[in-house]
């Protein structure tokens, strides 16, 4: 070990290194402090507000601590039916928006991957809506979905009858269910997922994992059958919720805007797949369709996951698009983001607005936190 002989320079270097480390830390510190306050401090404050009865415009309001009463009301009180429908709206919107973006994005990417002339022009066309504000998109599509103009009269250009689709003014609600059945529905969805997992573990011959998941499924099923799900307190009277057809127009507009994003991601993924892999499959006699089904799609799965997370969290907090497209007061197209804005800033029921905001945060966190965790962990392992 030559440490002793080099010690003066090493010592000096270490000292400088330490000084540099301090400098590095100090340079990062302002950002860390700002984010600590603006993200975590403010979230804490919002959460605290949500546990109070703060409302009204007074300069120095009298505020009492009420525990989880606001949350309780949001989920069970008769008059907060709008919030619960908003959750249902968010669920369906997210679902179809994801399906639309993934499907459309994959279609476009595969088409563009066929060695087409003018690829960059097409790519530009499919991707440009991403550069627009949701407010711009909303304004344009509001005009396009005017029930007496826009898309509906497009067929008349070639001499056909105009369409009679009511778009965002539609009041139809389909796939209705009783809110009181929700615990049961969720439990059954969980059971089905667990059974499917158990089946997969069984195929992989992972007996223990199979037993655990299968056992959990049986336990939950028993709980439901013994009336456990019915005993969960929800709304006092039956309450119908479902998919508001008015959302179709909004889903179309949102897909128009963001499918270019999935296209870009898939295209990047397709370009990353070695050519030899496809060639090898073709040589083995696989049809083009089979190449996609068995070689390419499985390789694109991580990209799909990333897209689902990124788009999913956008749709969970969607606000501006609907604000511009349907207006804040169009109850059939309401979502928690808008309800929070109206409750807090127009109705001045700040505590309730804060509670809605926290519910939104939890929904987003459920999606984002595991994603951040696994992504960053795998990065460290690399």
């Amino acid at each position: 070990m030559g440490v002793m002989t080099q010690s003066p320079t090493l010592f000096a270097r270490l000292r400088r290194l330490n000084r540099d480390r301090v400098a590095a830390f100090l340079m990062l510190l302002p950002s860390v402090i700002l984010l600590a306050i603006f993200v975590y401090g403010f979230i804490g404050q919002t959460f605290y507000s949500s546990l109070t009865d703060w409302s009204g415009l007074a300069e120095n309001p009298v505020v009492n601590f009420v525990g989880f009463e606001n949350y309780n009301q949001l989920f069970t009180d008769l008059l907060n039916v709008r919030f619960r429908q908003d959750l249902v709206n968010t669920f369906f919107f997210t679902l179809f928006f994801l399906v639309g973006c993934l499907g459309m994005g994959l279609l476009l990417a595969v088409l563009l991957d066929q060695n087409v002339k003018g690829e960059s022009i097409f790519r530009t066309i499919f991707l440009f809506p991403m550069a627009l504000s949701f407010i711009v998109t909303g304004t344009i599509w509001r005009w396009l979905f005017n029930p007496r103009g826009g898309i509906n009269v497009l067929p008349t250009v070639i001499g056909l009858e105009p369409l009679q689709i009511p778009w965002i003014t539609d009041r139809t609600q389909i796939w209705q269910f009783n809110w009181q059945d929700l615990p049961k529905i969720i439990a059954i969805v969980i059971v089905v997922t667990l059974v499917w997992l158990a089946y997969r573990y069984w195929r992989q011959a992972r007996r223990r994992a199979m037993l655990y998941t299968g056992g959990a499924a049986v336990l939950i099923l028993l709980w439901v059958l013994l009336g456990g799900a019915d005993a969960v307190q929800t709304t006092p009277i039956p309450e119908t919720h479902g998919f508001n057809v008015a959302f179709v127009g909004i889903i179309i507009a949102a897909t128009w805007q963001l499918s270019g994003y999935t296209m870009a991601m898939y295209l990047a993924g397709l370009r990353g797949i070695p050519h030899e892999l496809r060639e090898a499959a073709r040589v083995d006699g696989a049809s083009e369709l089979q190449v996609y089904r068995y070689i390419i799609l499985p390789l694109l799965r991580p990209i799909t996951l990333s897209a689902v997370i990124v788009l999913g969290h956008i749709s969970l907090k969607i606000f501006d698009l609907i604000f511009a497209m349907a207006g804040a007061d169009n109850a059939t197209t309401d979502v928690p983001g808008i309800l929070m804005y109206l409750t807090a800033f127009r109705g001045n029921q700040f505590a309730k607005g804060a509670a809605i905001a926290i519910v939104m945060l939890v929904m987003v966190a459920v999606v984002i936190v595991p994603y951040l965790y696994t992504t960053l962990r795998s990065e460290h392992e690399l």
Partner: protein
């Protein structure tokens, strides 16, 4: 947009200087916050033009946020007030919207001194002053009186279709299929708040003025049979309206009547201002009117007013503005264009050169009818109730269940402390 262009109106006839012009001229800025944009703008602009003549040193900022009945403006205004950045003056409906929202939060200045100085205590109807006052003072200056329960139509069209103006909602429901078969929308309807607006006319017809007032005094339950019956009638009426209602503004709903696509529309009499000032129609010829079915002899009123928020940056300029809009002169400038009638009793409402046939007839009704306050336009219930009433309406629209709506409304009334 911000600074209005030079004067267009020549007001030579108003040469006699009133006390207004003698006042020491304020300077600085005056930011007026309202939801009177676009088609509702001309009346306010006329008033602003006069103000600029009187006080050329003040720069007037006409801050409007569009959206009928102030649906969007209210969020923007409240955000600014909470942010400690109030405009100099803002539009607010007389009644609970003023008292229950702003006055109880200590956001307004008492204007007793202004009423004293101007001698306004005798110049406005007592009922209106009551809507603006609490025990501690009076909180805004009314600029007009609007009527909520009016039904509009085009006489020539009705003749062509062979339809009479319905006296009751039963009459209306009887002609509804006839009109629908003729390809005409019986009743034109617009976006959300206009649905509530229709509801209040239907409710007034079903409950009568006494029942309506009892509801707001907390003396009558929302679950009473006649209230449930109102919801049932309302549901039947909705079946006679256009399907694309949520995408239409109130003006576009009025347009449907004017264009002959629809037979009737129930809207406040700002519709008269729109049809005369913007569309250039002649009252009585181009359009006709009647009290909404079943409300003959009852005047459901609302009043737009302006107040002085605590912390207004330009207090003097604001007080000068309030002086002008409360005066008979100011009201006679504003109201003929707005379609409303003046609140100030000294104004020249019988002058046919100023006020058209509709306004004069409304003024007569105002003097002779039973007066009740509007729900949708802030007179009878606080905003807490109004906000939650939107939910009640949503419950009704999605379920069409009159009993469920009544129960929900009762719960809202209790929570909002109606009559309490």
């Amino acid at each position: 947009m911000k600074r209005l262009l030079s004067l267009v109106l020549v007001l030579g006839m108003l040469l006699g200087l009133t006390s207004l012009a003698l006042a020491q001229g304020p300077s600085g800025e005056l930011e007026i916050f309202s939801w009177w944009a676009g088609d509702e703008g001309p009346a306010l602009e006329a008033l602003i033009n006069r103000y600029q003549e009187l006080y050329p040193d003040v720069e007037v900022v006409n801050a409007t946020v569009t959206g009928g009945s102030g649906v969007n403006a209210k969020a923007v205004l409240k955000t600014r007030m909470l942010g400690g950045d109030p405009p100099d003056t803002f539009q607010v409906h007389a009644g609970q919207e003023l008292i229950g929202t702003w006055v109880i939060a200590d956001r307004m200045e008492d204007l007793t001194f202004l009423y004293d100085e101007e001698g306004w205590w005798d110049q406005f109807p007592q009922g209106l002053l009551d809507l603006l006052s609490t025990e501690d003072g009076i909180w805004s200056v009314p600029v007009n009186i609007h009527r909520s329960n009016v039904m509009w139509y085009v006489p020539a069209n009705l003749e062509e279709w062979g339809v009479d103006v319905p006296q009751t909602w039963d009459d209306f429901l009887a002609v509804c299929p006839t009109l629908q078969e003729a390809g005409v929308v019986p009743l034109a309807l617009g976006e959300n708040w206009t649905v509530n607006h229709l509801w209040e006319s239907v409710a007034l017809a079903g409950l009568g003025p006494d029942g309506w007032n009892a509801l707001w005094a907390g003396e009558k339950s929302w679950t009473d049979d006649d209230v449930v019956a109102v919801w049932e009638t309302f549901g039947q009426i909705l079946d006679c309206t256009n399907e694309d209602a949520p995408s239409l503004s109130w003006q576009q709903a009025v347009d449907m009547v004017v264009n002959g696509e629809a037979a009737f529309n129930v809207m406040g009499d700002w519709a008269a201002g729109y049809m005369t000032t913007t569309l250039g129609l002649e009252p009585g010829e181009g359009f006709g009117w009647a009290p909404s079915p079943g409300t003959d002899g009852v005047f459901m009123m609302l009043s737009d007013s302006f107040g002085l928020p605590v912390g207004a940056p330009n207090r003097d300029a604001t007080i000068a503005w309030l002086r002008l809009l409360g005066s008979a002169e100011g009201q006679d400038l504003f109201n003929p264009l707005k379609g409303s009638i003046p609140a100030n009793l000294n104004s020249d409402v019988t002058n046919p050169d100023l006020y058209n046939a509709y306004s004069r007839s409304a003024a007569e009704d105002w003097a002779s009818n039973t007066i009740v306050g509007s729900l949708v336009h802030g007179a009878v219930a606080n905003e807490r109730f109004m906000n939650d009433f939107a939910t009640v309406m949503e419950i009704f629209l999605s379920s069409r269940d009159a009993v469920a709506a009544s129960n929900a409304a009762q719960a809202v009334a209790v929570q909002a402390g109606i009559g309490g």
